[in-house]
């Protein structure tokens, strides 16, 4: 996970995918070829792309359709259909959280509802497992259901931990910025507060207390403008997929780039933040 967040910050605009890259959306390239910059070679782009893509071993939501259909119990099937949508939504939230630098809104309802369902499902599975009438074939299906449950658990775990990682990284910034508080769950906010406290106590006891008094602050800004409070870098690139037409954005170089439906782009987060938040584009 850490490697994923430590991508080199580049001020270079990363242009859109080269034509041969996205097998999914070949439309992408043609409309954007005009603004492609020769300065970035395809090699460096590819390696960046890989660095971005590789730490997400795909939980592929489409894979889950198969298991969903194999559920044996009629009444469970309806419930499962519903849950499937939630799993997919969590999957999107998860990749959005992982793909961006700043902290995003906590999907509390989604996680709670999934957790409840997991608990019910677990009870159901336990009952069926201990039921002597359950046939061999049903046992096999139960294994599939359990595997699926493990995968959903993985998704939640990874989502929560990814957020924790960001919260700890930017804890002081979060505390100092009240507008961010609404994005966090109660537990996360208190974690941020207590973590900041813990960290500052540690720093003070370790070294700051033995420095001259004017050097003991935790929110200084250095002469070069670097602040002690770590903030998310809005210039980090994000890989986005447009689920609908988002009009045009203006790149730093002044060029216009069209975000057409079905196209994939790698751009600075700052430029597409509104689209990401409104859900018009998905972060890959």
């Amino acid at each position: 996970m850490s490697s994923f967040f430590q991508e080199p910050d580049s001020d270079d605009e990363i242009p859109q995918l080269p034509p041969e890259l996205p097998p999914l959306h070949p439309v992408a390239s043609s409309s954007r070829a005009s603004s492609s910059r020769p300065s970035i070679t395809q090699d460096s782009f590819l390696s960046r792309l890989e660095a971005t893509a590789s730490p997400r071993p795909g939980i592929r939501t489409d894979h889950e359709d198969g298991i969903g259909e194999e559920m044996e119990e009629e009444e469970e099937e309806d419930e499962y259909e519903l849950e499937e949508g939630e799993v997919r939504r969590l999957g999107k939230a998860w990749s959005r959280e992982r793909g961006t630098g700043g902290i995003l809104a906590w999907e509390g309802e989604l996680v709670d509802s999934l957790m409840d369902k997991l608990e019910q499902q677990q009870k159901l599975v336990d009952t069926l497992k201990s039921d002597p009438d359950t046939s061999e074939e049903e046992h096999f299906k139960l294994v599939l259901v359990q595997t699926e449950m493990e995968r959903v658990k993985y998704l939640i775990r990874s989502y929560v931990r990814c957020r924790l990682h960001k919260i700890e990284k930017y804890s002081y910034h979060i505390i100092l910025t009240p507008s961010l508080h609404s994005l966090l769950s109660g537990a996360e906010l208190s974690h941020a507060q207590r973590y900041t406290e813990l960290l500052h106590t540690h720093y003070s006891h370790s070294v700051l207390d033995s420095l001259p008094e004017w050097l003991r602050k935790m929110d200084d800004t250095y002469g070069d403008g670097l602040s002690m409070v770590t903030k998310p870098n809005p210039n980090l690139p994000v890989l986005i997929y447009c689920t609908r037409d988002c009009g045009e954005i203006t790149l730093d170089s002044g060029e216009q780039a069209a975000l057409a439906k079905g196209s994939t782009h790698l751009v600075k987060y700052r430029l597409v933040e509104t689209f990401v938040l409104s859900g018009q584009v998905e972060v890959l």
Binding site: M1, S2, P57, G58, I59, M115, L118, E119, Q122, V143, Q146, T147, E150, R151, K153, Y154, I156, R157, S158, V160, R161, L164, E168, A187, H191, R194, Y195, L198, L199, T201, H202, Y203, H205, S206, V207, L208, S210, L211, P212, W214, L215, D220, Y222, G223, M228
Partner: protein, 218 residues
């Protein structure tokens, strides 16, 4: 030169994080170096204060040599602080990483058994002796924080289980690498893990033992 010691500190700190696979043992807390940097900074502080006192506001703006030396001392002091904090921050990151790698098992992390398992033939200091008392406090505090946080989830899932790759199979074949004694697994099943034996068990039940190096996936 001002700042030489601080530079030494950050260089060493940077070097210790260069390798993540295999993870290097956390170096011993550089207490003597840190104390001398703090001393240097305090001396700079006193020197700045006394210089500012003995000269009034007027001469400060006229005496270029004085302004220059004050600026240098001021910058050096700030730089020292920055290096010290960078060093601590780097270590905090390393400590947290090890905490997560151990699946949140604080006792396991600090026991010498852990060290023996990771580097059986090296005499590197174990984590407990590599940490300063303050860092140990931090680790304990962090452990408590995370315990509080994960209790909300605990009835359904364990947050501290690994997330390196998505789960594939539910069952896993394991070989016992170190004696773990009798362990009560999920569902009340009791298993006596002796070195060399092989088992086929639910992954979620033995995940922790795999992380802590008692079992090995076959």
């Amino acid at each position: 030169m001002y700042g030489d010691l601080a530079l030494q500190l950050v260089t060493a700190s940077h070097r210790s994080t260069l390798s993540t696979t295999p993870q290097l043992p956390l170096p011993k807390y550089a207490l003597p170096l840190i104390l001398s940097i703090c001393l240097e900074t305090r001396q700079l502080g006193t020197s700045i204060a006394s210089a500012a006192e003995s000269h009034g506001q007027v001469s400060l703006s006229q005496d270029r040599a004085l302004v220059c030396s004050l600026t240098v001392q001021h910058l050096a002091a700030r730089r020292n602080k920055r290096c010290l904090l960078a060093y601590l921050h780097n270590r905090v990151t390393g400590i947290k990483e090890r905490w997560w790698d151990a699946g949140g098992g604080l006792a396991y992390l600090l026991s010498s058994a852990n060290n023996a398992a990771v580097n059986p033939d090296s005499d590197a200091p174990d984590l407990r002796s590599a940490l300063s008392p303050q860092e140990l406090d931090f680790l304990r505090g962090y452990n408590n924080l995370m315990l509080d946080y994960k209790t909300d989830f605990l009835d359904v899932l364990d947050l501290t289980a690994g997330i390196e790759r998505p789960p594939g199979e539910i069952m896993v074949d394991v070989r016992v690498v170190r004696d773990a004694g009798e362990v009560v697994l999920e569902g009340g099943e009791r298993v006596d893990f002796r070195k060399g034996e092989r088992f086929r068990l639910a992954r979620s039940a033995v995940e922790r033992l795999i992380v802590q190096g008692f079992l090995e996936e076959v």
